[in-house]
Amino acid sequence: MRSIDYNEQLEHEVLAALRKPNPWYWVALVICALLFGMGLTLWIYQMLKGMGVAGLNNPVGWGVYITDFVFWVGIAHSGTLISAVLFLFRAKFRNAFNRSAEAMTIFAVMTAGLFPLIHLGRSWFFYWLFPYPNQREIWVNFKSPLIWDVFSLGWVGSLRQWWHYNRLYIFLAAFATPLVISVHSVVSWDFAMSIIPGWHTTIFAPYFVAGAIFSGTAMVLTLVIPMRKIFRLEQYITLNHFEKISQVLLFTSLIVTYSYIVEFALAFYGDHQFEAAHFTYRLLGDYQPFYITMLICNSLIPLTLFFRKLRRSIVYLFILSIFVNIGMWLERFVIIVTSLAKDFDPYSWGLYTPTMVEVGITVGSFAMFFMFFLIFAKVLPVLSITELKEEASE
């Protein structure tokens, strides 16, 4: 058992982050706020002009917006998982990350929730997606995976509650884990329920859940490493913690790599002409650079984590986490765009290039996320003091 001093020191150091911010903080916050504002402006511009300001076209009806949506949902869910699953497994190393991971979840859900609206041709009628009572009894279509999304995202929002209590925490953690898995499965069904080669496959649910944990863990690293440095939390978030989280990263990387292999195997073993043509295209076609980059980021680079030395190198982990973030964003992009670009009828094949509006809105979404995270870091203790104390007392 450590001394009272430890507890005081802990409080002092963790809470130090809540003191008056230095100018750099303000600069970062203002930049994020401005970029977020730019994103909102572009969205309004898109609503006034029409969806055509995005680069979408006839075969490729979904692009960067849905990529962003899946990316942010993935981030959100992995935050939940880190917090809840590791809690259930009594993985003590999570204490160092859980507060950030939870904050990340909330902000990522907020960001993710915007994209289904942004991508609507008529965003102003978004409420038609809810089964609200109305006189003409116009109902929503419960067969549509997009409606399943509406409900699943609704659930994620309510998870905010497990912010608080230990007791409730266990219950919520037990409740949240299957929920995360099911919710992310629903997101994957947005694709798997279609008949488009490259989307229509049964492995999508586990594939997406693993992908979500993978990308979320990477995002946690991206956020925590600078935070640890800036707030001088080295004592509480230790190398051991990082090593463990990078083991999670490595494990999920292996799962997604396995999924990549299975996708191809199914397509060619199944001897299905359209599937085979699609996966040939994904590997060798117009979007090949993206696919190869994705493979390098998601499957090759994480293999280096087999080396203990690298697992314990903070700088290396930070760089790696950036690569994984990029790789996972590209994974969703490649799945969405290549599947649509060349489907059944060769006449209607076409390519998609994102426009500046889409890039701007994506940048805006990152800015929004980081803006909230910056605010969070100043308003709430970034580490859960009680949990750390409990951990220390055991």
Binding site: G61, G121, K143, S144, I195, Y347
Partner: protein, 954 residues
């Protein structure tokens, strides 16, 4: 709150509600009971049809203008909103081509000349009054006469009453009427017919009566003389099981791809084949009538090997062709288009005429009695003569009417400069074309849908031209202009207008009752005196004496300049719809391009859109490339309708302008030019979109068996099967008779208010067509086409994914799109395997005044909404309402979709699949039927009839 306050609030709020509900806006709206229709037989919501004539090209098909009553700019009025063919018309029988369908874009074109214009002293155009213009022209005519200069009248092809009136006008005013100007003048064909038969005419070909058709170069289904008539006849002919069609061409045309067998020939080698055929005929035992003229000795007699070597047709194919031709009961040979518009074109046409005579076709299928009224059309020789006179400053006033010679011939002649030598140039046109820019007085002509008139497309047919709308601008018909100039010259104040003049003419020709039927039916068939056609051996002999047949095959590579099905000779280029819909063979929309054979492209490392430089002598032309499979290696193609700037040779004997440039060189420049090519890939890779033996077998095994045994597959489904009540609408498309002319595409745009989005959007892949023609290469030897539109699937993949039920399956089997409900997730489009759904990326309203042509029966969709083929649901509803009033079900054939209505070959059938006796059900049960991507289990409502197997050679 006490009771008193509550009552106060209640009083105020209900009072405010009452006041606000009596808004000022609503009070301004006048509601007039519709007791007396504004015009006879006009009832609200019910369109009226006026039968008139299409003037988009010289074929002059019967056009039936649908006029709807609607509110435009807050004024109620009558507007033509759709062009259809006149039912039963001897030329087009209810059909129109894409140009005809798009002709409303000309009527409402914002760039039409709206009032008369004259040049002021600075040389700029100013608005003038008609009287001013007439007075000026009359004085100038007089002044020119005093200067002893010739006054000339130069016009496009003119038939009917107007031709007579121009004659009278020229006579009275002392004007010389020049031969009419058409760039596609068929000069070699007419010259040959003159030499052989003394008939300087283009005959009427009875394709439907033929059991064996041999076409050489003539693109009969695209632009040749009267393409809709040809196509309609082809639709009839192809019903005959034994109908065989060979097409020989140096290039690649859609017509050729439709033939039973297409044989590519070396450029300029057609005469060897024709000479061989003529001599083979004289040696053959099969035909009773063998040509035994002495002149036969003057025609070279090449051996089969020599022909094979010169033309590139294999000896085997040659033998097949010749024997099939000889044993046919009613063979028909047509040479034209690219094979007559070449240096040896006159010989080719002449040999063809001799073969026609020898086979006795002139009594049956080659009909000079009903010839195409081209006798007054001149040739390039006449243009040369005109230029000579202009150069010698011998021309006073020149009228240029309904033609655009500056664009058409300026590549060959310095027409603009020579035209300046005339004393005065008077232009009559609807557009400020390049030719009108050179005129001093520009008199705007009314569109044919605003005018009275008539036309004689071929001998024995008189079409009426009648207005479907009041003239929208200060324009006149050409007839009125001529009558008024004559009156101004003679100082008369009053006189008959052209309408009265016409009626007098019709009364004198047909009598009063026939005149009424002419106006009602849109046409009248007159008896023609039979002609006895015989070969004038003496004239042929004297011609053959001076002819050298030993013409060498063209020095390759060659550039061939063909007419375009979309723009004809270029005159329809101004219509935005024809730029918006793709050229069916290449799927290029906006812009100019060179078609390069796949073989040559591979050798030069060219891809689609790479720039290529074509060099001829000292001229260089730069265009983007469209790689064209099946095109012979050394042939490059451009479309004349899109490209004017190419100088070609003129045959000094007939005045035919060649469509060829020999001995060109082509080099890749390295630049890439954006060119909208709508096809993502020309290679179908056995995906089951084209018909194949397997798709038909699979269809009959699975679908027909299921039908017969009524196996219920209920247990296999998650969701229950859609119930259908009374109707399940379905369609069949006959791939054998479909000629891929794109008339349906154009008709669909106009009927359904589909936005025209322009080049920029098309480059992004955002075309909006609900129906499209997809070309696919088969085995690198052939290109087949398929018509793709919403398949109205029973298990539609688009339906379950829509979160808001904006698309759902209605009880009549239609896959309905509810525009108001759509929020624009685009999931339906993603999930559609046929990719026929179209998203409105922006608000694309037609600019004024084009929006006058919007069909009031359906909405114009705003941004953010998905749309697609509805099977013309507005027409279905109209028929159902009618049936409901009469307390019955809709009869078979009562609903006609826009694509079906305009189809020249009647390839499309529409009707109720639940009614076993309907035509569509019967055709759908045919052994040749299949459905596209059947294996996906979407259960489409569209059945395709397989294209029959045929041979082809690259």
């Amino acid at each position: 709150m006490d009771r008193r306050d509550f009552l106060k609030f209640l009083g105020i709020s209900s009072g405010t509600a009452m006041i606000s509900s009596c808004g000022v806006d609503k009070a301004n709206e006048k509601i007039i009971p519709y007791l007396i229709p504004p015009e006879q037989d006009v009832y609200p919501g019910k369109p009226v049809f006026y039968n008139t004539t299409c003037t988009e090209c010289p074929a002059n098909c019967g056009l039936s203008a649908r006029v709807n009553e609607k509110v435009y700019d807050e004024v109620r009025g009558l507007f033509p909103t759709k062009a259809e063919g006149v039912k039963g018309h001897p030329i087009n029988n209810g059909a129109l081509c894409p140009r005809g369908q798009a002709s409303l874009f000309r009527l409402y074109h914002p760039k039409r000349i709206q009032r008369p214009m004259m040049r002021d002293n600075d040389g700029n155009f100013r608005v003038a009054t008609w009287q001013e213009a007439y007075a000026y022209v009359t004085t100038e005519l007089q002044a020119a006469k005093e200067e002893k200069k010739d006054n000339l009248y130069f016009s496009g092809r003119t038939t009917g009453t107007l031709a007579g009136l121009i004659g009278r006008f020229c006579e009275e005013m002392g004007i010389e009427r020049l031969p009419e100007f058409e760039i596609f003048s068929h000069a070699n064909l007419r010259k040959a017919n003159e030499i052989v038969f003394n008939q300087p005419e283009v005959p009427h070909y009875h394709i439907k009566d033929a059991d064996f058709l041999l076409t050489i170069g003539a693109d009969i289904l695209e632009t040749f003389v009267s393409p809709v008539s040809n196509a309609a006849q082809y639709g009839e002919a192809v019903k005959n099981e034994n109908f065989t069609w060979y097409h020989l061409e140096p290039n690649l045309s859609m017509t050729g791809l439709k033939a039973t067998t297409r044989l590519a020939v070396n450029p300029h080698s057609e005469i060897y084949f024709l000479a061989y055929l003529l001599h083979a005929l004289s040696r053959s035992d099969i035909r009773k009538r063998r040509p035994s003229w002495a002149i036969m000795n003057m025609v070279p007699d090449p051996s089969a090997e020599e022909v094979s070597q010169k033309t590139g047709i294999s000896a085997e194919n040659l033998e097949h062709l010749v024997s099939a031709f000889f044993i046919a009961k009613r063979p028909l040979i047509i040479t034209g288009g690219v094979s007559t518009a070449q240096p040896g074109g006159l010989e080719a046409a002449l040999l063809t005429a001799l073969i026609q005579a020898a086979m006795g076709m002139n009594d049956t299928v080659v009909d000079f009695a009903h010839s195409q009224n081209y006798e007054k059309v001149g040739s390039m020789l006449d243009v040369q003569e005109l230029l000579e006179r202009l150069r010698n400053k011998a021309v006073g006033v020149i009228f240029i009417s309904r033609s655009n010679p500056v664009d058409d011939i300026s590549a060959n002649f310095n027409f603009v400069e020579e035209l300046k030598n005339a004393r005065l140039r008077v232009g009559m046109s609807d557009f400020m074309s390049a030719s009108m820019q050179e005129c001093d007085v520009v008199l705007p002509l009314s569109h044919s849908l605003e005018s009275w008139g008539d036309a004689a497309p071929r001998k024995g047919i008189r079409n009426v031209i009648q207005p479907a709308i009041e003239p929208q601008y200060d324009t006149r018909t050409e007839g009125d202009v001529l009558l008024e100039i004559m009156r101004t010259a003679s100082g008369q104040k009053q006189g008959p207008d052209y309408n009265q003049y016409l009626i007098e003419q019709w009364h004198s020709l047909y009598g009063e009752s026939e005149t009424v039927s002419l106006i009602e039916n849109g046409y009248i068939e007159e008896p023609v005196s039979p002609l006895s056609i015989a070969v004038d051996t003496r004239s042929v002999e004297s011609y053959l004496k001076n002819t050298d047949f030993s013409r060498e095959v063209a020095a390759q590579p060659v550039l061939i300049i063909t007419p375009s099905i979309r723009t004809y000779d270029g005159r329809s280029k101004v219509l935005p719809l024809l730029n918006e819909i793709p050229d069916p063979l290449t799927t290029v929309t906006y812009g100019e391009w060179v078609s390069v054979s796949a073989v040559a492209a591979k050798k030069m490392g060219l891809k689609d859109r790479d720039e290529i430089q074509i060099s001829v002598e000292n001229e260089n032309l730069n265009y983007p490339v469209k790689v064209q499979n099946v095109l012979p290696e050394n042939v490059y193609m451009v479309q004349r309708g899109l490209i004017y700037a190419i100088k070609t040779d003129i045959d000094s004997r007939s005045g035919e302008a060649s469509w060829y440039l020999d001995n060109i060189s082509a080099t890749k420049t390295g630049a890439v030019i954006p060119l909208p090519i709508l096809s993502g890939s020309m290679h179908e890779e056995g995906r089951g979109i084209l018909s194949s033996h397997e798709s038909v077998v699979e269809h009959s095994e699975h679908y027909n068996e299921k039908l017969k045994e009524e196996v219920d597959v209920e247990e296999e489904r998650i969701y229950p099967k859609h119930p259908h009540k009374n109707y399940r609408w379905g369609m069949t498309i006959n791939q054998d008779s479909c000629i891929n002319c794109a008339a349906c595409v154009a008709a669909c745009y106009v009927e359904n208010n589909i936005p025209v989005v322009g080049q920029k959007e098309q480059l992004q892949g955002r075309e909006m067509s609900w129906i499209r023609i997809e070309p696919f290469v088969r085995d690198d030897r052939d290109i087949e086409f398929t018509l793709m539109l919403c398949q109205q699937c029973d298990n539609a993949p688009c339906e379950p994914v829509c979160p808001v039920y904006a698309t759902y399956h209605n009880p009549e089997g239609l896959n309905v799109q509810v525009y108001n409900r759509c929020v624009g997730t685009r999931y339906c489009s993603n999930n559609c395997p046929y990719k026929v759904r179209r998203f409105n990326w922006f608000d694309h309203r037609l600019p004024k005044p084009w929006d006058k042509m919007y069909n009031p029966a359906l909405s114009v969709r705003g941004r953010g909404i998905m749309e697609k083929c509805t099977f013309c649901v507005q027409r279905i509803r109209a028929a159902e309402d009618m049936a409901k009033d009469e307390d019955r079900l809709v009869r078979d054939g009562e609903v006609v979709t826009a694509c079906q209505e305009t189809c020249p070959t009647k390839a499309i059938t529409f009707g109720n699949l639940m009614d076993d006796s309907s035509r569509v059900s019967q055709i759908a049960r045919s052994d040749e039927a299949y459905r596209v991507l059947e294996e996906l289990g979407t259960e489409p409502a569209i059945h395709y009839l397989r294209k029959k197997e045929r041979k082809s050679e690259a």
